[in-house]
Symmetry: C3
């Protein structure tokens, strides 16, 4: 669908971000649907840590898209990509490690996430501008991912694995499909 939309839209000559985000998310969900490469959490339920490796790719493309829309200079775009990739990479380490040490990586991931938000929100003097509605949308929806992580078996295990899966699915639909449609309709 995004291949079709981006091919006929004004974004014709831009990088087809949402095609790749959807594609990467599709692979990620196939890997999880087949329950490949999971580890057992302390409460015995499975941890689907592969999700975070795929987020390295898909979320880096998304934040690059946001930085491009906000007309950030190239050095800022590169920083946003690296910060996002590091957020998700530490999220992966925090998920694959089942001992209490995982919280160190949760902390490092949070630091990189703050770096992502800071780089996106910081006004720049060279002609870039803040597109507030998109920024706030990202801040509010993306910040729910670590909340689910903390409540799910990866964190304190307060919510069960099936609730976790539904919440992540809803967040993925909003931040990836919904966001892609919104950005496409903007142009």
């Amino acid at each position: 669908m995004f291949a079709f939309i981006e091919n006929r839209s004004y974004r014709k000559n831009m990088f087809s971000s949402h095609v790749f985000v959807s594609y990467l998310t599709t692979i990620s969900y196939f890997v999880m649907a087949l329950a490949l490469a999971t580890v057992p959490a302390e409460n015995g339920q499975s941890i689907y840590w592969t999700r975070w490796l795929f987020y390295i790719g898909s979320c880096s493309i998304l934040t690059l898209d946001i930085a491009t829309t906000a007309k950030k200079p190239n050095s800022r775009k590169a920083e946003v990509i690296v910060f996002t990739a590091l957020t998700m990479f530490c999220g992966f380490l925090a998920s694959i490690i089942i001992t209490v040490d995982r919280w160190w990586f949760f902390g490092l991931s949070t630091a990189a996430y703050i770096g992502t938000l800071y780089t996106l929100f910081k006004p720049s003097n060279e002609g870039s501008y803040n597109i507030s509605s998109i920024m706030w949308f990202v801040l509010l929806t993306w910040s729910l991912f670590p909340v689910v992580w903390v409540l799910a078996p990866t964190g304190f295990g307060i919510i069960a694995i099936d609730i976790e899966a539904i919440l992540y699915l809803a967040l993925d639909l909003v931040t990836k499909i919904g966001f892609g449609l919104y950005i496409s309709s903007m142009h």
Copy 2:
């Protein structure tokens, strides 16, 4: 050899694609020669899945080189790299998974491969042009890799592992060394 050719050619100030393609392929063959990290196929023969991880690097550089030669705009180049990387990544997943589910990833890999070809072949209105002979060469030789995959122990196991190795070697020689020499002689 390519380091020497590219250093003295008209491509002096271009990225030395073929040095890196050869280098990556050399590491890949060392890893396979030492039979590191293989998995057993359903018919008991070994699957050398590492090949596909190295293709992520080497084939992305090759398609970037083709897109550059065809004077595609930067957004198209980025798309070609990501499509190629995803083709090989799904090829890796299809190879490391030995259950029947591997065919899902074979399908996803095929989709990304079609995306690569579509992006390369699609004429563009901003001054890029099709260099037909190279395009058709890529289409015809690269498409034989999935054919070998389907016939080898990774797929239906119709051909034995040693025949598979010889066929992949021949294809690697043609698509990497042969192609590199041809491109170098063109300039």
Copy 3:
């Protein structure tokens, strides 16, 4: 600290290399401090091979920074990044493999390292210039990493694992923190 320095310096609009180098090195040391994912060497001591995977990221950013400071053209920058990444990737393979075959990858890593140095030192006709002091600093300090590797349990096992850890730590401090401060003070 580097986030603060780079934010207020003349490098304000450049990519914050040293923030990311420090951050990646921090993750790397956390992973090693927790002794995650080590393999036993022939002499029974542990090999911390994860170090080399993180070097792929941090050292690529460092050599990109050096190439940028030396005003190399973009194609040379890309080559330096790929050569550095391949040096560290082969270093990773040489470290995770405990049989005698690891020396093949030590050789391949050395070849890529020579490629990195050659690309950095080679004078270029289009306005780039050599910043000799930085180049010689890199040559002399970076070349001590493979020396430690050869003497440590990863190579001949002449020095013990705790001496190895101290030497790598000293080299990391000099080549990353010290180098970062020096580059920041230059601007």
